[in-house]
Amino acid sequence: MVDLKTNYLGLALKNPLVASASPLSETVQGVQQLEEAGVSAVVVYSLFEEQIIKESLELDHFLSRDTHSFAEAMTHLPEVGKFSLAPENYVQHISNLKAAVSIPVIGSLNGVSTGGWIEYAQKIEAAGADALELNLYYLPTDPALGGNEIEAAYLQVVKDIRKTIRIPLAVKLSPFITALPNFAKKLADAGANGLVLFNRFYQPDFDLEALEVVPDLHLSTSSELLLPLRWIAILKGRVALDFALTSGVHTVEDIVKSMMAGANVAMSASTLLKNGTDYARELIAKLEEWLIDHEYESIQQMQGSLSQEMSGNEAAFERANYMKVLNSY
């Protein structure tokens, strides 16, 4: 019997497969199915900073607009006793999930600026979340804005949130950080407990007929695994953080690679969306088989084994590897 247990953000998990933020966690039933399928923890879908602000402003705009303008129509929509806005619903959802499942529930906040919205970190904690994943994603379009300023802003958010909560805090990043090891260390210093690599996001596409820019989102493929794989392998042992690998975890091999790079958990959403929740059960069974077949006793045994520090081939992760790949053609 192999031991699949792992530890992430101080949470003892029965296996390394965690469901990352996705529509699968929008309902209690969905999360229960994930639990039944064997995932060891779930990151709940993200509550966006924009959502917190926009929903409130939009509701106000459309309920206030053109009111008290015309004698026959003082208002245009009825007065409603109470609204449950998305943030409150989210907090309630976390609370409902905690009552319904026994696996750890990780809340997720997505935003970049300091401000009123970060109070929801505390509310998520109060609702019973076992940890919080903070998704930092800012797309700099202003030429006057430098990388240092953006990183400083990111760190400030982490510090501000750290001050408000006691539960573990993981930070999810995009790959576009100039000096990731350095920044990862700063995140650790700012109070982060883990790093989730990497964020995937909507990328605009073009509609050639309408000459319009349109949003698009594709599910990930295994090929996307390589980028986070490299970076976790580099960071493992260099910064005092736990790691979650997300993006491209589709097969049992992908999970194993994640572990060997040094991840504490492998997060998956695309493949569960595509193949159904039950596919998690299959992946975990295969993981067990893989370990048995390859004579591993535990997950911990392989964690970080192919990290830059432990692999014995440091160059493979650096420029030298680039030369090698070119020469192979």
Partner: protein, 1191 residues
Amino acid sequence: MTKIIKTLDGNEAVATIAHKTNEVIAIYPITPSSNMGEHADAWSAQGRKNLWGTVPAVVEMQAEGGAAGAVHGALQTGALTTTFTASQGLLLMIPNMYKIAGELTASVFHVSARSIAAQALSIFGDHSDVMAARSTGWAMLGSGSVQEAHDFALIAQAATLEARVPFIHFFEGFRVSHEVSKIEMLPKETIRALINDEYVHAHRARGLSPDHPVIRGTAQNPDVFFQARETVNPFYEACPDIVQKYMDQFAALTGRKYKLFEYEGAADAKHVIVIIGSGGETVAETAKALNAAGKNVGVLRVRLYRPFSIKHFVEALPASVKVLSVLDRTKEPGASGEPLYQDVVTAVTEAVAEGIAPFEHAPRIIGGRYGLSSKEFTPAMVKGIYDDMANAKPKNHFTIGINDDVSHTSLEYDPGFSIEGEKTVRAVFFGLGSDGTVGANKNSIKIIGEETDNYAQGYFVYDSKKSGAKTISHLRFGPEAIRASYLISQANFVACHQFNFLEQIDMLKYAQPGAVFLLNSIYDTDEIWSQLPKEVQKAIIEKGLQFYILDAYRVAEKAGMGRRINTIMQTAFFYISGVLPQDEAIAAIKASIKKTYGKRGETVVQKNYAAVDQALAHLRKVDVPAKTTSDLTMRKPVSDAAPKFVREVVGTIIAGDGDSLPVSAMPIDGTYPVATTQWEKRNITLDIPVWEEDLCIQCGKCVFVCPHAVIRQKVYDPALLADAPTTFKHIDGKFKEFPGSAFTIQVAPEDCTGCQLCVQVCPAKDKSQPKRKALNMAAQPPIRESEAVNWDFFLSIPEADRTKFDPTNIKNSQLLQPLFEFSGACAGCGETPYIKLASQLFGDRMVIANATGCSSIYGGNLPTHPYSVNKDGRGPAWSNSLFEDNAEFGLGMRLTVDKQNEYARELVHQLTNLLGENLADELLIADQSDETGIQAQRTRVDELKKKLAGSDDPKAKDLLSLADVLVKKSIWIVGGDGWAYDIGYGGLDHVLASGRNVNVLVLDTQVYSNTGGQSSKATPMGAVAKFAANGKGIPRKDLGMIAMSYGYIYVAQVAMGSSDMQTLRAFREADAFDGPSLILAYSPCINHGYDLIDQLSHQDMAVKSGLWPLYRYNPNLIAKFKNPLNLDSKAPTIPVKEAAYTETRYSMLALSDEGRAEQLMQTAQADVNARWELYQQMASMSYDNNDETNE
């Protein structure tokens, strides 16, 4: 018991009691009573319970007649039942009211009394409606203030239960129903104490039940009907004392004492005014002031008008009275006097005869009319009446408050007379509807009312336009009770929230010497003086005003509030007025913000807080120079080039001075000229579209979608460009029918509302920078003058010859001149593009019957009218009858046209000798199926007129009076879904079934738009609307399917934002169809809760989700063995939920009740699927007789 003080309006004050003391409430929207039903519906939706601990059942009916029927049924089965209504609504209830009274049934109808439509509709307050119901046998209890309305709602309820006489409890629309006032609320204990459950149980026991069956509602014959009718007399005899008993009990509980007839004034008064309602407050205060000046005058306020107790009436009068002046707020043309006057004459005569009067000789009694349709009724007018009573021969049947230079009924008075005490602060605010001024002022008055010991009153005056609407707020507060049911004329504080109003409105006429003038200004202290019109400078100097400015837009922008400046100006008002210490004021404003916006999320609250915090830092006091320096002057309301009537009458109304117009200035029968909106240059937008001619593909889509006909296209002879202004743009025309032509798209810069629909729809993009389209928005002020010149030049270019092209595509159709322009509809209105299209296609031969609603308001509300004329003076002839009867009204028009056409044809036949055989034949067999045919017939009619001119033959004269009817006419019956699906449905069904050639256009906004978005049977499932605060639980009625079931009605369902071509086809086919046609036109509306700039994509989503499938059902195809139903849209491709949740009307339910929203969305999806399946099956049926599958 702790007093509960609230500051609220009359409707809410009344609805609170009605909801608390009833079990069943039947409602239907009508201004100004709608809010009472809205409150009742919302409270029940929220689970608020009545006195007995159960939530009243609130049901919306299809009409007031229906509401009265439902009330009657509920009462007859023993439920405590009420309704709210006004005006025509009350008239529709009258038949049931006779029954309810005849059956001695306890009930109270709460009526916000309003004018009845006569020469024109009016939504404003007087007693015309309740007086029309005075013969129904209902008791009538009139209240004159918000406090009284609250109190009398309960007294009426208590009294009716014991008296078994039903009550109309009435109070003036707007003046009381909408006035915000500080009142003492009745605690539940008081309500409980006054409502006697013994009578409630008796009422219930009288209810029909098979457990103790009786029959009620029999038919009676001459032998006994009369006697049976007289059985009720003892109940009416007893009723006044019962009311007084409850008034006395009420006084013991609350300290507020009321009498059936309440006298105030000198004990030895010789001159006494008798009056009902809120005007009594003004008369009482004036009498008090005059008493203090030694005048022996008084006022008798009538509370219980029916049953009219002569005994109580004369007992209340002082014995000294010599002249009684009886004021009626209604007009009864042809009567010997108005109702109250007649009652008083009768009462005094009888009392003197019976010896029960306090005087031996009857005083002289005169009657007069005042305050119709919320006309001001001021202390100055009251003094004018008292002054006239002192004359040896006071004028009888007088009017006060107008200048009647026709019948000379009006009394003179000194408008400068005022009794307003110095302790009362009076503030007037000028704002835009969209800047939140009224909302902020309502909050201010609530803060003052509830956070200080001051009495407080707020009254708000609104615009007749729906776009760029101006508002005026009148606020009073002070340590003394406020009994002023009239507008402020001399204010201590005048605020102008919109800088451009300075050139339009003489607002400083409201400022008393030394008053504060607060202006929202983008200019700072060093610049502001030079930016003011000379008239404003002069008033500031001469009145010694304290002048403050505040750049509220800048503060709003910094706080992320957009253009909502309400809380910013509110903060400045509190600071300057000093009504509360600064810290307390700001704390109170913030508390109010939290209360108002809290449930919409913390973000909104914080933004408002930020605006408040930043406001005072930007407030500046201006050092007023000693002299006027400005070259700027206020703008004339209309151009000097306008016709005389427009300049002298319409212009006066536009300038806000309509009160000064004498009777002789007004048309005698409500007939007004058309094409007058063109003179009212409103300049309500800061941005207008600008044409980039190099990109334009001349598709006409921008012209098609424009709701206000402010963007137009023309093809014309390039030679005309010789006189073009230098900035006039043009390109070569691309119309095969007009080779070698020039083409221009032109915007009317001063009429545009800035809705941006034209920019949204424009498909032409710059390939190098697609954000640049053939139309882009640009700032209006810099190009206003030059584009106005271009617009005038554009208008001078002849319209394209209608006989030279077929309007079968959008491009061509938009060469047709719109004969509906610059209406006051909302910016981005979803209805008006359809009316405009009809006016383009058929306007010069169109007669329109328009149901009451949005389309009758922007179509027919004074001061200006959007229906226009072509160069020949032809254009749509338009009229509005009522809300409920529009289909029948339009059918009547068709009957006239058909009958007169038939008669004219008979005359042509009989006058063949005079006309010549050829002309007569051609007139009779003319093909008028296209423009060429119609033009040819017009030419023939002209020829006919020439030939018959001067003939003495009576038949020739007859034919001349009818000849125009020989040209084909297009009858259009236009209205909203409230009319077509609900109140007018019975008539609509009958008219459609008649087979007559009428075209029905339903502007389907899926709610009662004009009254603020109440649910109709067109409201889709899952949408939140007023009267459906929990989301509509049943699907929208499929009116099109019902009409199709007749098999001989042309039916089309269109959405111009989804398919403009299908819309165009449907309109042309409907007109061409020689029978009834029905077009259901999807009309986005502000009540849907999204920005109307996005309406085109919302229309498309409605179609693509299957919520609004497009189709045309043309019975003519059956004769060609074709299926009459064409499905013009494809099977749904997006889920209902996805389309729905882009609109607040749906998404707000998901936020307030997610479970119900989800369930309704699922059911709505199933309904859409099933309906689509049904349509598809119908459209695929074979109509080919030879098709075996059809056997």
